[in-house]
């Protein structure tokens, strides 16, 4: 489903379904080509709203304290912009295109993600 959705965005709009890049536009000066962007983001939000209505358990519960979640958000925001992508852009779209940059990025964030999860899992 994620792969098909990303492919649909490529076929219709020629865009990479990289969520960090798409979310990042929210804090950038508006670009000219806004309609697809706004619609895609709206689709994501709609998916969340509908899921909450029909299958609230599927959304899950927080795994960490609010402070840790906020710190995590700051790191994810800064890191994805500096590294030009996240799980979707580098992970799904980048690896499929055999992008060497994405391969390096995925190997890096999987490694630091696992190390962090292991450490936090032991101390908390």
């Amino acid at each position: 489903m994620i792969g098909a959705a990303s492919a649909l965005l490529l076929l219709t709009h020629g865009r990479i379904a990289g969520i960090s890049g798409i979310a990042g536009r929210l804090v950038q000066p508006p670009e000219r080509d806004r309609a697809w962007w706004f619609a895609f983001l709206g689709g994501l939000v709609l998916a969340g709203v509908v899921s909450a209505a029909i299958a609230p358990a599927a959304i899950g519960t927080p795994a960490r304290s609010p402070l840790m979640v906020v710190v995590a958000g700051l790191l994810v925001g800064f890191g994805t912009r500096l590294g030009s992508g996240c799980t979707s852009g580098h992970g799904v779209c980048g690896l499929s295109r055999w992008s060497a940059r994405s391969l390096v990025a995925v190997a890096t964030f999987m490694t630091t993600g696992m190390i962090t999860a292991m450490i936090v899992g032991r101390v908390s």
Partner: protein
Amino acid sequence: MRAANPGTRRRTASIALAGIAGALFGVGLVVSGMTRPTRVIGFLDPLGLWDPALAFVMAGAALVYAVAFRTIRRHREQPWFDAQFHVPARRDIDSRLVIGAAIFGVGWGLGGLCPGPGIVAGAAGSTSAIAFVVAMLVGMYAHRRIAARPRSPSQS
């Protein structure tokens, strides 16, 4: 370029399909368990109760996209609603890429959310995910102010 009437219909179709892509993407994240921080952390922490299922989610999505990407690029000069494909062309591996990915990984392992699932879970009403997304946007804004210097001016 095009007559006004078919133009507006085309524009409606263009927006609708982007919305469908977003909704499908979001539902895919929910169905696969990516919006559940406990599951993501369970996947990232092999020392705990390791749950490797999410690796198959990502591999599956990448496989579907790999086939689709090749097919689309082979058969089409341009996407349906744009004059060109906007596919990254960079090949250089620089310190920003590695450091950025490393920082992102730490945040992912810490909170169990990455950007897409954060937005979807936030829209579903999870206050934790909303806090995550707000912090993420602050982080993105901070990057724009601090680290975005040598970007091409056309990026705007």
